[in-house]
C-alpha cells in the first residue's frame, strides 16, 4: 500500500520555482479583523496596522522610543494639555476595486480617525463597534478635542496632563484611516463594515485578500512615503501548531515564523539555513497573592513564600534559558527600572522562620491557579505550578493546583475568587504606567486587572503623580520609588521576563525583531 502510494506521490512532485521577492510569514493564529481600531490580539494587529497602516508617530524599530511618522514634528504646550502635530504632505492612501483616493493624506483623516473612536454618534463611527483598545487606554477620558487648524496641522486638547499620551498615539489602534474611504462606503451603501474586511491605509503593503484561517496576501505599495518595500508579495500563512510551523521553516515553506517553543530553540540553532533572532520582551510573568484574602493579607506569609520559591530553577525548566529572573514588576529594558532593589533570596530557613512568626508553623493549605494558555511570559503554567507546589511543600504549605479554561479563568479571577494565581502582562506602549497602573493601581482592583487586589495608598499616589509629570527624569524617579514599595509589600512574586523569539530563514535580510512583537516587513529583503 505504502509503496503504491509512494509511486503516485512521486508523480505529483513538482519543483515549484519560487518567484523572486515573495516573503512568507507563518503566524500562529487567524486575524479577527483588518481594522486596527477594533483588534486587540497581536495576530490581528500585525496583519492590519503593521502591514497596512501608519500612525502619527511610531516606535523606532527595535525600541520603545517614539519617533515621527505621519506627523513630521510636534510641540507640547506649557500646560501639557495641548499637543500640536505638523503632518507630512506626501503620503498617499492605497486603492482597491471599490476605492481610488482622490487626494493625499491630510488633517481631516486624523480628526476622523480619533473622533470616530471617541464619539459613537459620529457619522463615520462604526455601528456596534466597541473600540476596545482606545477605551482600554482611557483615551476617551483623556482627549477633550481633536481639531485641524489647517490641512497639515492637527491639535489635540487633553482634559488633563497625560505623560504616556505620545506613546499611546504610536500604538496600533491609533492607525490613521482614510476619511474619504469611510465616506465613500457610507455613500455607496456598502457600509463601514467594509473597513474590517477591505482595509485602506497608507502603510508599506496593500491588502489584497484574506482566505479565512488560511492566508493573508499583500502587495508592496509603490507610492509608500518611505519608498516602495523590497518585497513584492507578502503572504501571512496561518499555521497554528508550532511544531508544524517549524517543519515548514525547514522545508522552506515559510521564511519567518512566530513563537517558536522554548524546547525547540536548541534544535533551531543547530539547523542549517535557519536563524533565531531574539530580543528582550516587554513582559512579566508573575504569581499574585490575593491580598484581600487570608492568609495572603499577611505580609509575613507573602514574604515567606517569596523566599520559598526557587525562581532560578523555573527559568531553566520552563523558559529553557529564554527568560530572565524578574525582581521588579516591569522589565529591565524599560526606563525607570529600579536596578537597586534587592530580590529576596531563595531560603527555606527564612521562609520557615517567617511562617512561624506569622503563626503558620505547620504551614497551611491553599490553591494555586495555573495559567491555562501558553503565553510568551509563561509558556507552561501547569508545569510551573508543579514546580512551585514542590517548593512550597518543603516549607509545609500544601498547594492544590487548579485551572479552568481561559474565559472562565479570566472571569473568576477578575472577580477575585482566587487565592494565589499565575498571570502575566505584555506591554502596550513601553510606558511604565502601562504596567504599574494597569496591574497594581487602586482603580485596577475594581477594573479587575489588579489580580493581587492590592491597593496601597503610598504606591498609588506615586504612580498617579508620575502620570502627570512632564519630564521623563522626574517620572522615572517616582516609578523607581514605587518599585521599592512593591518590593517591600510583595503583592506578587515576579517570576520572569521572557525573551521574544522569531525564526527566520538565512535568505531573509534586514529583519529587525521588535520588543512589542510587531512584525514589520517594510525594509526586509529576501535573497
Amino acid at each position: 500500500m505504502f509503496l503504491r502510494q509512494a509511486v503516485i506521490l512521486a508523480l505529483f512532485m513538482s519543483s515549484t520555482a519560487f518567484a523572486a521577492k515573495n516573503l512568507i510569514y507563518c503566524m500562529e493564529g487567524s486575524p479577527s479583523t483588518f481594522n486596527p481600531q477594533l483588534a486587540s490580539d497581536s495576530v490581528s494587529l500585525n496583519s492590519s496596522s503593521q502591514a497596512i497602516f501608519n500612525r502619527l508617530v511610531e516606535f523606532k524599530k527595535g525600541s520603545t522610543e517614539v519617533i515621527p511618522s505621519l506627523a513630521k514634528s510636534w510641540t507640547v504646550a506649557k500646560n501639557r494639555k495641548t499637543y500640536t502635530f505638523k503632518l507630512r504632505d506626501d503620503v498617499s492612501f492605497h486603492s482597491n476595486e471599490m476605492f481610488k483616493p482622490s487626494r493625499k493624506f491630510k488633517a481631516d483623516d486624523v480628526v476622523y480617525t480619533f473622533k470616530s473612536q471617541m464619539d459613537t454618534k459620529h457619522p463615520l463611527s462604526i455601528p456596534s463597534a466597541n473600540y476596545e483598545y482606545f477605551k482600554a487606554m482611557e483615551l476617551d477620558q483623556i482627549i477633550a478635542d481633536v481639531k485641524k487648524t489647517d490641512d497639515y496641522t492637527v491639535v489635540f486638547e487633553l482634559k488633563k496632563p497625560e505623560a504616556p499620551f505620545l506613546a499611546n498615539l504610536a500604538m496600533d489602534f491609533a492607525s490613521i484611516l482614510s476619511e474619504e474611504y469611510a465616506q465613500n462606503l457610507v455613500k455607496s451603501g456598502k457600509g463601514l463594515k467594509m473597513l474590517e474586511t477591505n482595509p485602506i491605509g497608507t502603510g508599506p503593503f496593500v491588502f489584497k485578500s484574506y482566505q479565512k484561517d488560511s492566508a493573508v496576501r499583500y502587495t508592496a505599495f509603490d507610492q509608500y512615503y518611505k519608498g516602495k518595500p523590497k518585497i513584492e508579495q507578502l503572504v501571512f500563512v496561518i499555521t497554528t501548531d508550532s511544531t508544524v510551523r517549524l517543519q515548514k521553516m525547514k522545508t522552506g515553506e515559510c521564511h519567518v515564523m512566530s513563537e517558536p517553543q522554548p524546547q525547540d530553540i536548541e534544535s533551531i540553532q543547530k539547523t542549517a539555513g535557519l536563524k533565531l533572532v531574539s530580543t528582550e520582551g516587554l513582559n512579566v510573568g508573575y504569581v499574585a497573592f490575593n491580598t484581600s484574602k487570608k492568609p495572603f493579607d499577611n505580609l509575613k506569609v507573602r514574604t515567606a513564600i517569596t523566599h520559598a520559591l526557587n525562581k532560578k530553577s523555573y527559568i531553566d525548566a520552563i523558559y529553557k534559558g529564554q527568560g530572565t529572573v524578574a525582581k521588579n514588576p516591569i522589565p529591565p529594558t524599560m526606563w525607570s527600572y529600579n536596578n537597586s532593589t534587592a530580590d529576596d533570596e531563595y531560603s527555606i530557613e527564612k521562609a520557615k522562620q517567617l511562617l512561624k512568626e506569622a503563626g503558620f508553623e505547620n504551614g497551611f493549605e491553599t490553591e494555586l491557579w495555573t495559567l491555562p494558555v501558553s503565553r510568551p511570559y509563561m509558556p507552561n503554567g501547569k508545569k510551573l505550578g508543579e514546580l512551585m507546589q514542590a517548593d512550597l511543600a518543603k516549607v509545609g504549605i500544601k498547594v492544590k493546583l487548579q485551572t479552568f479554561d481561559w474565559p472562565t479563568y479570566l472571569e473568576k479571577s477578575k472577580k477575585g475568587e482566587h487565592a494565589f494565581i499565575q498571570f502575566g502582562w505584555t506591554g502596550d506602549n513601553g510606558d511604565p504606567d502601562n504596567f504599574l497602573n494597569v496591574l497594581l493601581g487602586c482603580s485596577a482592583v475594581k477594573a479587575g486587572s489588579n489580580y493581587a487586589r492590592w491597593c496601597q495608598p503610598e504606591f498609588n499616589a506615586l504612580i498617579q503623580k508620575a502620570k502627570e509629570e512632564p519630564t521623563q527624569a522626574k517620572r522615572s524617579d517616582l516609578y523607581e520609588k514605587a518599585q521599592v514599595i512593591f518590593k517591600k509589600e510583595k503583592p506578587w512574586v515576579a517570576v520572569a521576563h521572557s525573551r521574544q523569539n522569531k525564526v527566520i530563514s538565512d535568505k531573509v535580510t534586514g529583519y529587525t525583531i521588535d520588543p512589542f512583537g510587531h512584525e514589520q516587513f517594510e525594509s526586509v529583503d529576501i535573497k
Binding site: S32, L38, N130, E196, R217, K248, T251, E411, A447
Partner: protein
Amino acid sequence: MNSLKVSILNKLVRILISFFFISLVSFMIIRLIPGDPVTHILGERGATEERMQELKKLYGLDQSLLKQFQIFVSQAAVGNFGESTVSHQSVMSEFKVLLPATIELAMLSLIWASIAGVLLGILAAVKRNSLWDYSAISISTIGFAMPIFWWALLCIFFFSVQLQWLPVSGRIGFEYEVPYYTGFFLIDSLLSENSWAAFLSALRHLILPAFVLGTIPLAMITRITRSAFIDVEKEDFIRTAKAKGLNQSQIIFKHVMKNAMPQILTTIGLSLGQLLTGAIITETLFSWPGIGRWLIKSIEARDYPVVQAGLFYSMLIIALTNVLVDAGIEKLNPRMRAAK
C-alpha cells in the same frame, strides 16, 4: 405512500423535535459556563463596571436568557445565525467558506478509507489466518489506536520534511490565488488562471491530511468488512452456493459481498458523519481551514453565535447521514423493511 417514504418522514419529524431540544440545551450550556465573549475580548486587561455593561449590551447579553433564546430561534428559523463576536462577520458567510474545505477533506479521506478498507477487509476474510489476515488486522489495530496528532506529525516529518514529496500544511501553494466559485479547491483551482498547476498543488496539499484523517475510518472499515464477510460466509446459502459448484470469486462478489454490504455501508455512512462534523486535530495540524477548528476556537472565545450555528450544523449532518444510511440499507436489504 410506500413504507420507505413513511419511515423517512417519521424520522424527519423525530429529528425536528430533537433539534429543538438540542438547540435549547446547547444554547443554555454555552451560556451557563462561566466567561462570555466580553471576558474573552478583555483578556488580561480590566474594565470598569459601566464598560462591562456597555459591552454586554453590544452583544445583547444584557437580556434575559429566555429572550435571547427566543431571538435565536426566530432568527435561526429564517436562516440567520447572527454575527461572530470575534470577527464581526456573519456566521453564514464564514460557514460558507469553511464548509467546502471540510467536505473536500472528508470526502477524499472517506474514499481512500473505503476502498482500501474494503479491499483489506476482504483480503483478510478470504485468506483467513494467513499472513495477509494478520497484517490486515495489525494495520487496522494500529490505525485505530494511533493518536492522530502523533501520526500526523510523523507523516509530516517523513513525507514532507525528509522526503520533501508533499507540502507540510495548507490548502494550496501560496503562488496560486484561487477565486471563490464553489469553495472546493479541486474545482475552483481548475477554473483559475493556472488551472492545471493550481489543481495539482491543491491535490498535493490534500493528500497528506486525507491520508492521515482516513486512518481511523480505514481501520474501522477493514474490521467491519472482515467480520461481516466471515459472518456471511457461515450462512447456509453460501454453503448451498458452494455446493452448486460456484467458484470462489463468484461466491465472494455475488453472494457474500451483497449480503455483507449493509453492515459495511453503515460504518462508512457513520464515518462520513463524523468526518463532516470536523476533524479538529487534523485540521489544526495541517492548517486546514475547516469547520472543526472554527468550532473549537469559537468555544474557547465564547463566540456564542458561531457555537450555536456549529452545533446546529453538527446535528443536521449526524441526523442526515443516519437517515440516508438507513434508507440506503433498506433499499439494499428488503429484509430490514420487512422487519418493521
